[in-house]
Every structure is written in structure tokens, then in C-alpha cells.
Amino acid sequence: MDPQTIIARRIAKELRPGMLVNLGIGIPTLVANYVPQGMHVFFQSENGLIGTGAPPEEGMAHPTLTDAGGRPVTALPGACTFDSAMSFGLIRGGHLDLTVLGGLQVDQTGRLANWMIPGKMVPGMGGAMDLVTGAKRVVVAMQHTAKGAPKIVKQCTLPVTSTRPVDLVVTELAVIAFRDGQATLLETAPGISPEQVAAATQAQLSVPARVPEMTL
């Protein structure tokens, strides 16, 4: 299984019936492919849609039915649309159960940096700061390292997205929880040892005596 599939399948296990969920661009979008059979989840696109469905079949795209990346989507039965003030009221106002975002760095205490690399990439934060600050639960979907360098670090060298710590980071190697300012190894990927995870992590990692393997 490739890293992206491991991450997306594991995060899908965090879904519960009836949740309102916002998925970011990239690996997070893949989570929608692994919703457990028969479970109804509401997916929000922050451009103003709840009930976001899979991309339409060839030739069925509508110019005014898109996701937050501007790509054509479908609307599932029961979908609703609204303006951007409502959309961010949902996000900041404690109505969004779960957001899944990509990450550049996560520090020891769970602070996420994912919106800019000074001097290199300044795309703008879009909705990321509101999502991390406002969602009830924040899960980061990212590869464990970038070109061999750990992305879970002692301290972020990039500007953070929010001071609110994320709840969970899921990588192709591990599931790591951030509680009370501490990073704890919850699960390892199949065939990966806690020592391998620790070696690829710069942040101080609390490792319980027994670490279960991810179920995918």
C-alpha cells in the first residue's frame, strides 16, 4: 500500500455517523474514498456546500458546482449551499466536527505550520487558519518526512497556522496524538517499529510500553 493510501484509510477510521467533516486539498481529499460502507457523513466544501460528492462523470460537470479547489464535484441527496459567511460560521462556530488538513511541520506541542514557506511559497492561508482554530477536532494527514527530514519537529521553523494544537497526526509510519502539550505514539503502520518512528521524528515522542498496529 502506498503512503497516501495508508494515511487516507487510517484517517477514515476517525469518521463517525452524522459528522460534519471538511477535507483539505491533497491527501485529505482521499479520505472520502474510504468512508465505511453504509455510514452517512456530511462533507463540507468551504466555498459553500455541505453534501459534497465525488467528481461527476465525464461530461456531467456543472460550472457552478465545485469544491474549494475549483474542481467539479457532485452534490449528494440532502446537500445544501450557502454563502461564505455561513460557511465560516460553521467552521469557527463549533459546528464542524472534524477537519483533515495537510501539513508542512507539526511541533512537539501539536502546533501546525501548513500555509507558507517564507521566500519560497506564499500561497495564502485560504481557510486553513479558521479550520485549525475552529474545528472541534483537527487531524493532519502528511508524510512522516520530507526528503528524509522529519516533519514532526521540536519547534516549527515555519510560521504556524494557529496556536491551537492539532489532535492527531497520521502518517504512513504512525498515528501520533497531541495532548497536554505532549506527543504520544498511538499506533504504528504495519511492519513499522516504534524505534523506526522515533528515528524519523525530531520531536520528543512519548512511547507507551505497548503500541498497537494500525488497522486499515
Binding site: 466555498n47 456546500l49 460550472p63 449551499t81 465560516f88 469557527r92 504556524v160
Partner: protein, 215 residues
Amino acid sequence: MRTLTLDQAVEMIPEGASLMIGGFMGVGTPERVVDEIVRQTKRDLTVIANDTAAPGRGIGKLVDAKLLRKAIVSHIGLNPETQRQMISGALEVELVPQGTLIERIRAGGHGLGGILTQTGIGTPVEDGKQRIEVDGTSYLLEVALRADFALVQAFLADYLGNLSYALTARNFNPVMAMAAGTVIASADNIVPVGVLAPDHVVTPAPVVDYLVANA
């Protein structure tokens, strides 16, 4: 509300004007109005919008034509030309979190001086802003935004100027329609009064100053 031809509507916009332009990655942007601004070469504009779309699309066309002096937006990641002009210094870009941007516009249109939000605290967004504590929680004071013109795109407009929107093309449009000195609406379809049921009107006719006639 008055109905104007496309060129008349855009002739009202002076060079150096501030414009709120609806749309999200070009979806729900008044493309005909944008094309006419390019044709009439209105320079030195300040644009307030969610994003600058992409080259050749929506607000991206104004960037391509180098008509912008300043952009107040949440995202430019899908428009390399905006980033290029920003880095070269030709275009000033103020990046605002999306939820803060829409609330600043809403405040501007609803008679409020600003809003308090936790978004941006402890990040570069906080620079130069006041923190206000309410019941033990810290918030940033984010001030209201208004513009000289709002350029909005509706799905249906009736002859009075009542507007309704389609699917994800609604986004910033109805909020901006409240927050500018002059509101210019264009619509996919102009329909007789009565076609839009009262419950389906999102932007009430009295806030719309001008409707752009069909070609």
C-alpha cells in the same frame, strides 16, 4: 435600480477605484464585467476578493492585464502570475484568513466597525492588531472592509434587482452586495418580477444600484 449596458456600467468605475468582486476560484465571478474592465483598461485598482483565480480566468484576467495595485485576498496559490507580481513589487497583496475576510466584509455591510475572532492569534496575521479579551478568551480585532463598488454575479435577477444565486457560485457575492458604495449586479438570467419567490431572494432589490443588461 437602473439597468445599464455593460460598457455604461464599467464606465462608472474610475481608475484607482476599490472593487469587491464575487467568486471563488472564478466560480460566481461576473466574467463579462471583468472582461469589460480589461477592455476599458481601468488601472490602479484595489480588489477585495476571496482569491485571484488563475491566469485567464475571473479576477486572474485583471492580474494578467496588470490593472491591480493592491489585492486583499485569502489565497493566491493557484495564480502564479499574482505571486510573480507580488514578489516583483508591482502588486501589493494583503493576505487575510478566508473566514476573517468574509466577516470583515459582512461587518462593512452591516454597519459594524469590525469583528472579534480567534483566527490568526499567534501568527503573522496578528501583526499590528489589537487583542481584546472577552470573558477570559483573547480575540483579534479585525476591522470592517468596504469598497467603492461591489461587482456581483447572480443566477437570477428580476427586473427590480432582486437576486438569487446558484450552488457554489453564491460564496462572497451576497455579502459583498451589502458592503460597497455602488452595487453593480450581473446575472446568468434576467427574469420578470414574480419569477423569484420571496423566500428565494437572497439579495433584496433595494441594495442593488445597477443591473447589467444582457448583450
